[in-house]
């Protein structure tokens, strides 16, 4: 299957969303949920696949996400004909009625965290029904003490919950550089654990002072990430249904937006639509 390809919508890339290379769009829920909005977030644009990306489901928290948040998320998904929703494998808050940290951190990879995460994903999937949930692997600055690796935790969550995997290739790349593991092996290990996959691609930068790769969504997608993406397409064997490019800072000009999505399409077609051999 050839994945649908597109951008996470930002005001800066709206002018090029009708480019023929684009047939998918990702809506960041926290941007779309504006109380005074009049139009639907994707406006009159048409896409083969729309997904809504959330930031506060906090699936690794000890309590399920609250009803108001789920209702608002569903309203945006319905209004924009989204067929999937996604959020990150981490926690942004503690329990119900607690506090928000402002960004997601990885949970301690333990049996208790696994149980809480799977229970929360079950809750989300039951609530959303046909709108499938995808769980994104995150880029992290640190890990808590636990009893299993990130790869094992993610595989077990995907298998037990049956949700899709939102493979953020750049997050795998960043973690592999920052914590010294093999990014190709990570993708190969986790890929069999889910029957439906979506992809995030982005570019960050190497911070000399912090001595780490920062996943800032501020630069073009690096060549190494393209290589990992190609590897993921091969490993997936046709179960990737969408690829989204994310950019949040230092936005390119119109040509930059167009050339990056065309590059992603070219790579994707190279793997998913191999040339037919001539007799």
């Amino acid at each position: 299957m050839m994945p649908a390809i597109g951008y996470a919508i930002r005001e800066q890339n709206r002018p090029i969303l009708t480019d023929p290379a684009i047939n998918a769009a990702e809506i960041t829920f926290e941007r779309a949920d504006e109380p005074l909005r009049v139009d639907r977030y994707i406006r009159d644009d048409e896409f083969d696949l729309v997904s809504v990306h959330a930031l506060k489901l906090s699936v690794a928290s000890p309590d399920a996400p609250n009803q108001h948040y789920l209702e608002a998320l569903r309203a945006i998904a319905q209004e924009n004909n989204a067929e999937s929703i996604s959020d990150h494998m981490g926690f942004t808050r503690d329990g119900e009625g607690g506090v928000e940290m402002g960004h997601f951190a990885p949970p301690p990879y333990t049996e208790a965290a696994l149980e809480a995460t799977c229970r929360n994903i079950d809750h989300i999937q039951t609530y959303f029904g046909d709108v499938r949930f995808y769980l994104e692997n995150i880029a992290y600055l640190f890990q808590f003490d636990g009893t299993m690796s990130e790869s094992e935790f993610l595989q077990r969550v995907l298998r037990k919950s049956g949700c899709g995997w939102l493979l953020d290739v750049t997050n795998v790349y960043a973690n592999s550089l920052n914590f010294g593991y093999n990014a190709y092996d990570f993708i190969s290990e986790v890929m069999p654990a889910s029957d439906a996959v979506q992809i995030h691609l982005a570019g960050g930068y190497w911070d000399d002072k912090a001595e780490m790769y920062i996943d800032s969504h501020s630069h073009p997608i690096p060549d190494e990430v393209y290589k990992l993406y190609r590897h993921a397409l091969v490993e997936a064997g046709g179960k990737i249904n969408a690829t989204f490019i994310e950019r949040d800072q230092e936005f390119p000009d119109e040509d930059g937006w167009r050339s990056e999505v065309r590059q992603v399409r070219k790579i994707t077609e190279g793997v998913c639509r191999p040339a037919v051999a001539l007799r």
Binding site: L36, E100, G102, A105, P108, D145
Partner: protein, 251 residues
């Protein structure tokens, strides 16, 4: 911190981490790190989160920037004391900050007007969230005002709709008013599209809006019956003024 096995222990572990990291205290999280992971990275995480919150609060309270020189210092103080609540948005965190500011800081009357103005704008967002369909319907009607206004006195079927998303307030000083020498004034906040506008409301205009609030959607001939006789001739002009501001729509 020891690795936890029960859900209750996990809940307590995350409560401990989240509550402390939310205000930039990294000690608990640093004590629970996997071997080889650095507390300096926990500090990067919490510093980054607090800075983003600081920027969002600046944005959510931008009206105050012109009237409160110490705004940025107050925001920095606030985020170190009051953690972000679960599911807070920029607006709800901003509103909580304004309440804290009003209670904890010795503001001048003029500065309190800036706070009232910002809170009025937040209130519009809260009302619009609860009445989203009414907001959308009214904005659709509003887009037809240019076409329908010339028919105001000739088309008996036209009804007058008050913008359902509006909030009253009162400025006690002239700090935010064009007439800086004047005293206070009653003001109304209302959205036009995705913009929030503020208007001074007084005299006949205030009476007309209260009438529309009480009676709901009305035709001009029915409005005339309830409007004071000595101001009847001014009524169409008043409606046109309110329509041009985006406070009423015809449909």
């Amino acid at each position: 911190m020891a690795v936890t096995y029960s859900l209750d222990a996990y809940r307590e572990q995350l409560r401990h981490y989240a509550q402390t990291m939310a205000v930039g205290d990294n000690r608990a999280a640093s004590a629970g790190l996997l071997a080889g992971h650095s507390p300096s990275r926990v500090a990067m995480f919490t510093d980054g989160n607090l800075y983003k919150r600081y920027e969002k609060l600046q944005s959510a309270c931008e009206v105050l920037a012109d009237g409160l020189d110490e705004l940025n210092d107050y925001i920095k103080e606030y985020i170190k004391i009051v953690p972000l609540s679960a599911y807070d948005t920029n607006t709800t965190d901003g509103e909580r900050f304004l309440i804290w500011l009003d209670e904890k800081k010795d503001l001048t009357d003029e500065q309190r007007d800036y706070v009232r103005c910002q809170r009025g704008r937040h209130a519009i967002e809260f009302v619009a969230l609860k009445q989203r369909l009414a907001h959308i319907r009214f904005q659709e009607l509003l887009s037809m005002n240019d076409r329908l206004l010339p028919e105001l006195e000739t088309n008996p079927r036209l009804a007058i709709h008050l913008n359902p998303i509006h909030v009253w307030s009162r400025f006690e000083t002239g700090a935010l008013l064009d007439d800086a020498d004047g005293g206070g004034a009653t003001v109304m906040f209302f959205p036009v599209g995705e913009d929030i506008r503020t208007a001074v409301i007084e005299g006949d205009c205030e009476s007309l809006i209260h009438l529309l609030e009480q009676q709901g959607v009305m035709r001009l001939k029915d409005l005339r019956k309830l409007y004071p006789h000595d101001s009847q001739s001014e009524l169409p002009g008043l409606i046109r003024d309110l329509a041009e501001m985006g406070m009423v729509a015809l449909g």
